[in-house]
Structure formats: structure tokens, C-alpha cells
Subunit: 243 residues, 2 copies
């Protein structure tokens, strides 16, 4: 069933009108009167509606029923990704949204090749948030993950405060993600992955200081866009969130 | 350490010369005399060599030592992917190689949008194999995954013969990948994922007949390029192959 994310205020009435991008999306989907769609406000509730009228730039709906969204993970997983090159972050945001991440946070690190200025980063972040909205709609999520930026210090502070805070490091040989997952509670989890050039030794030391677990993802070296999605898949699997 | 895949015959002598694409790669990496590199023939052995000479189109090496590759998974995982649209298969082959797949098999299914003719598919397959070689080198693998094509019947026969044969189906609600993984041996595993339009009901029925487990990957709908990599990550995690 098609899903549309709307502002919470839209649902104050039983009769709802989609406009703008949502109305355009409805047109692209060739919705017909009588069809059912789901509205989400990001509050974790699915609002089941029926299409009552369609014009070129408006789609009118009648609210039928509201139920808790069954597709939201109980685990609150935050994915912290060192800014990668080119459009890799778009790819990561899309896939991490499908995989059920609660938030996706980009941060600059010592060896990042990508070093956008603030204005450019803000613009990118806006674009990533739009990708998250679209991926949340397509994958049937009840919440839109927050996409934001942070400093490495903020990342470590937040990850250190989670039930499970993990930094994936290609030079770690002994302590595995699995050992970390199996020895921590999993209500809130934070996964941190590095840029193309990896983390600098002083960043690893700072993460240890901040009570973040330094873990390996195994003997194969994963690309900077593969590691976060592999780790998130493994975490979701371990938390029983993959069905 | 840089890795190069070479034909087995190259290693008949203690003194080895890289030519062609490998020599070009050595030049791109700006290797210097005295540097160490690893040669692989795909037999699961790492051949440690030292650069002894470099010219524009040749790189001479001296074999120092050979050790079993530590980066090959004990689990033989085959990934069967219904032909996706555009260049998604390239992405899947690259990531699945990093994640340790033993082989990656593309197959046509009822609802595949992509329907290349045999010549075009053979050409694509050649290209995918090259991507696998390059990803195996970069991720430090000791074997190059085989990339090939098969019919859906062949896929089901092969998957039915594996210790664990799983088809991921978005309309399955009850039986999870995790339940399937936890109730089977994991020496050989086969994961089958569908195209953009999903599997047809008769394909699911055929898979059940063939003794393949029909599993859900959870309540969120994954894109056809996300599902195989998520499932492979989860499988590798469960098999203790992520460190």
C-alpha cells in the first residue's frame, strides 16, 4: 500500500487533502478513487485512508483507521558515518533507512577526503533527509530517520552513552562486533564507521577514552560505504529485527 | 599490503614478473623496490613477495613466503540474485565479494524487468567477474568468487542441496531468516533474492517443492539490491565470520 509522510497537523480532521509533492506522488502512482493508502506523521502510527477525490494537484482522503506501525524496530540504532567521498552518503542514507536505522549522523574525521564547508554540508544534509523520507515511504517505515551532522567529539559522547557503542576499526584484530553485541543490552545502539582512509590512531584512543567499544568486522576489508550497512544488518539480525 | 591475483602458473618460480593489468596496477600504486605485496592465485594461499625491479610495463617480484589466507570464510555462501535493473548487479557483486561470498549467481525470474539476450548477458557476466576480481584484491580475499548465471530451476536445485537454502520473500510473515539459520548446519548456504517486482507465487511454490526455506527479512521492505547484502551480512555474522 502506498505510504505518504505528512505534517502531524494534517491529521486533525477525518478529511485530509494531500497537496504539493505528495499530490504529485499520488498522480505518479496513478491512484484511483476508492484505493487505500497509509499516512504517517513520523509518530510510529499508521493512518489508513481511502482516496475520495483526485484532481491535478490535490488528492482527497478519508481517514478510516489508525494502528501502531508494525515496521519500526524496538532497537533505537544510530549510525555514525565519517563523511565519505562523492555521493556514497546518499547510498548509505537510503540503505540504512530501509534497514531500520533511527538516525544517521555524518561527521568529519581526520582522514576524510571529503571536506565540504558548512553551507555545502547543510545543503547536502537537506538532500540526505529527503532521501531518507523517500526510502522510509518505500520501505514502509512508520518513522523517518533523522539525518544530521555532528563533530567527532559529539559522536563519541553520544555513542558512549548508548547501551552499545561500537566503533568499527579495520586494525582491530581481536574484539568482534558479535562479542560486543552479545555482551550488551540492545535498547539503544550506536555504530561508528570510518572514511576511505580509515581512522587515525588518536581517534581510536579518544573513542576508547569515551567508553566506546573498538571492534573488528572480520578479516576482509570493507569499503567505507559497505561497513556501516553490514554492521547495521548484523545488529538488526542479532536484535531479532530481521523478522 | 597490495594484493594481486595471478594465474597459478606464474608461481612456478621464485622470481615472478607481473605484466599487463597487474603491472599497470603496480604503477598506479607507485610501488617501490623493496616493498611487500601479496600474490594470490585463488587457491586460498597468500604468496608474500618483495618488489625487486620496476619498469614501465613490468613489475618483478621475489617470492618470500606462502601462508594460508586468513581472510576466507569457512562458510561457503552462494548468493543467487534475480537479475536487477541497470547497474545494480555491479554494486551487488562488489559488495558481496567484500562480504565473503563464495559465488554470486544471477538468474532470470518471472518478474525481472531486465531481460538481456544471451550475448549481452555473457558480456555483463564477464564484466561482473572483473569487478569481483578487483573487489577481492581490495578487500584482501584469498579467493575470487565465481560469478555466473543460471536458470531458476538450476538455482532451486543447487539451493535445495545446500545445508541451508533460503529464499527471501517479502510476503512471508512468519518464518524468519534467523530461525532458518539457527536450525541448519552452516557449511554451505544458499541465499536467493528476487527482482524489483518480487517473486511470482508459482516461483515460491516451486522453491518450497525444492526444499528451499521461504523466509522473511523483517517488516521493512528492502530494495532488490539491499536484500542480498543484508541477508549475506546477517548470515556471515551468524556464522561467526564477521571477526
Amino acid at each position: 500500500m502506498p505510504r505518504f509522510f505528512v505534517e502531524p497537523g494534517v491529521l486533525n480532521d477525518k478529511f485530509i487533502t494531500l497537496t504539493g509533492a505528495n499530490a504529485e506522488h499520488a498522480r505518479v502512482l496513478r491512484l484511483a478513487v476508492g484505493e487505500k493508502v497509509t499516512l504517517c506523521t513520523g509518530d510510529g502510527i499508521d493512518y489508513l485512508c481511502t482516496v475520495s477525490d483526485l484532481t491535478r494537484d490535490r488528492c482527497s482522503l478519508v481517514l478510516q483507521q489508525s494502528t501502531p506501525s508494525a515496521s519500526e524496530a524496538a532497537l533505537h540504532a544510530s549510525l555514525y558515518v565519517a563523511l565519505p567521498k562523492s555521493d556514497k552518503m546518499e547510498h548509505i542514507v537510503q540503505k540504512a533507512t530501509e534497514l531500520g536505522a533511527a538516525e544517521i549522523v555524518a561527521f568529519p574525521s581526520a582522514r576524510c577526503v571529503s571536506r565540504p564547508d558548512k553551507a555545502s554540508l547543510d545543503k547536502k544534509c537537506e538532500r540526505w533527509q529527503k532521501i531518507a523520507v523517500s526510502a522510509a515511504e518505500q520501505s514502509g517505515r512508520g518513522r523517518i530517520p533523522t539525518v544530521r551532522t555532528a563533530t567527532f567529539d559529539e559522536v563519541l559522547r553520544e555513542a558512549g552513552a548508548a547501551d552499545l557503542g561500537v566503533l568499527l576499526y579495520e586494525n582491530e584484530r581481536a574484539y568482534s562486533l558479535r562479542e560486543a553485541i552479545e555482551s550488551h543490552a540492545l535498547h539503544t545502539a550506536a555504530l561508528i564507521t570510518g572514511p576511505e582512509g580509515g581512522f587515525a590512531p588518536e581517534e581510536i584512543a579518544a573513542a576508547q577514552q569515551a567508553n566506546v567499544n573498538i571492534c573488528t568486522l572480520g578479516p576482509r576489508i570493507l569499503r567505507c560505504e559497505t561497513a556501516p550497512l553490514c554492521a547495521l544488518s548484523a545488529l538488526m539480525y542479532a536484535a531479532g529485527e530481521l523478522g
